[in-house]
């Protein structure tokens, strides 16, 4: 009972530290900037779901805001403690390491989901009826992608002392690089599965994958398979992170 209380307290404490931080203020500023862009977009004469997906959802939200919001909290949980030197004191407590990891993960995931899903809804509202219509359909893909990103970035935080830079490199360099490469190598990217699910969810609105998402080049897999991959990745990365965190020495 006391361990459970301690874990809940740690989760609450971690979440509170991450909320009252500069990264939250910056996250808010980024969201405001994207919202202003959405409002401007809604002023155009012919807003369509397809254009919303191609001009707002994929380049601004999926390619930037989503991974950055996940990175902001998922790496800050453990990497922030390592940076400030407080992780050693936390590990010196009688709490089992997997439970500490669970507490950090729960805090990061909760905040990330609030930001990503809340931010998505805000962008949809700012973009007018068309945006709201699309956003209502893509919440599930965004939720899945957020969970996978949080698992991945928190795993990075257990592995690397500079996990934030590594996570940034993955999100803004590696994903873009392998996403633009021909063949099936793009299946290593979380955003690949998120895009498949987004196109599948918005198919009824007439959104077709075109341009760089042309099926001949994009080589999409079935939406059910993409969902399964993201779920397995989420669980697998969480377990992997917990195991790594339990094994490594942090000084």
């Amino acid at each position: 009972m006391s361990s459970l209380y301690a874990i809940l307290h740690l989760t609450f404490l971690s979440a509170r530290r991450m909320i009252w931080s500069r990264q939250t203020v910056l996250n808010l500023l980024l969201l405001v900037l994207a919202t202003v862009a959405c409002i401007a977009w809604s002023l155009r004469e012919d807003p369509t779901p397809e254009r919303f997906v191609a001009q707002i959802l994929l380049p601004i939200y999926v390619a930037f805001l989503l991974p950055i919001s996940c990175l902001c909290y998922a790496t800050a949980g453990i990497a922030g403690d390592r940076e400030e030197g407080t992780l050693v004191y936390l590990l010196a407590t009688p709490l089992p390491r997997p439970l500490i990891y669970l507490a950090k993960y729960a805090a990061a995931l909760t905040l990330t989901l609030i930001w990503t899903l809340g931010g998505l809804r805000l962008l949809g509202q700012a973009a007018g009826p068309v945006g709201a219509q699309v956003v209502a359909l893509v919440s599930w893909p965004v939720l899945l992608a957020s969970c996978a990103y949080v698992g991945l970035f928190q795993w990075f935080a257990t592995l690397f002392s500079r996990a934030t830079i590594v996570a940034l490199g993955y999100a803004l360099f590696l994903e873009v690089l392998i996403g633009s490469m021909p063949g099936i190598v793009k299946r290593l990217a979380v955003s690949f599965y998120a895009q498949i699910l987004i196109f599948d969810a918005t198919g009824d609105l007439g959104v077709a994958s075109a341009g760089p998402h042309n099926p001949a080049m994009f080589l999409p897999i079935a939406a059910s398979a993409a969902t399964l991959v993201l779920l397995i990745a989420t669980v697998g990365l969480f377990l992997l992170g917990g195991w790594t965190f339990s094994q490594r020495e942090y000084v």
């Binding site: 500069r22 990264q23 601004i60 500079r162 830079i165």
Partner: protein, 329 residues
Amino acid sequence: MTRKWQAVTGFSSGIDDREREIAVNVQTREAAREDRDAVRQAEYRSWSHQLHPAWRVCFPLAATGLRLVLRRKLFWLLLGLAALNFLFLFATIYLRAQVSAENPGVARFVDGVLHSVTGEGRSYRDFMFAQGTVTMLLLAFAGEVLIGGDHRQGGLTFYLSRRMAAWHYVLGKLLSIAALVLLTTTVPALILFLQYGLLTNSLAYFRDNWRIVVGILGYGAVMAASLSLLLMALASWFPRTVPLVMSWACVFVLLPAVGALLSEVFDNRHWRLIMFWRNIRMLGTWCFGALTREQDLVMLPWAAGVVVAVGVVCLLALFPRIRAVKVVT
């Protein structure tokens, strides 16, 4: 020894004034010798070299900063990523030269297909622009190590407690960052230029294309100056890694996306001026002498104005943060 002891302490009975004077002299000499030994043991020594002006402290400061970055494994990983594009172009230029030497008729066809290795200024400009993403990552890392670390761990207070002014510190750090920018963009571009020229049959390539060197150096200088100022301002206000990375990524990823969107929505090219990386590229193109389109020439003063304004704002934002003491409230 007994006599010396007696002389120093004066405990010996029947000691006269002469012996007392000798004893005081011995005591003084021994004290002086002990002082010299203590100073020698503490490794204090007088400065026997020529004293230099204070502003030259920037160079050791920059060198120390560079060494600090070069010690990290992550730096070498990022540099390896930056080298990928360079190695690809290096190999392509070599292959093109081989194909052209064996069959000159094919050379024109190869130039038509491989736009990235035509040897014109545009090729080098595009290469330097393409290095942008990795340079951005590298600078995010360097900003956290070079500037964020100083603010977080008291390095700034240490530096400014020495006989150096705040602007010496700023200049030294700017030089470190600029060196990293040049290392990933300008130096590889110059190597590619040299390689291209050396693989031709004469020195005519160097003679006819000297303007390219000016372009590479000019573009590199613009990038180094603007990026180092921007990074230093951001890192001094956001010394922790996550906020720094977020703000830095916003400048290079979110702002271009928003700029392109607003430009299309309002059908106004001026919105593209919020794309900082694009403004730098436009100035770089001008350095290469390849800015020919009229609409680009119209936008050039605006782009230069934005880059200069960002630099001035960064400088103004820097100085409140570069202080020897931290006021805790």
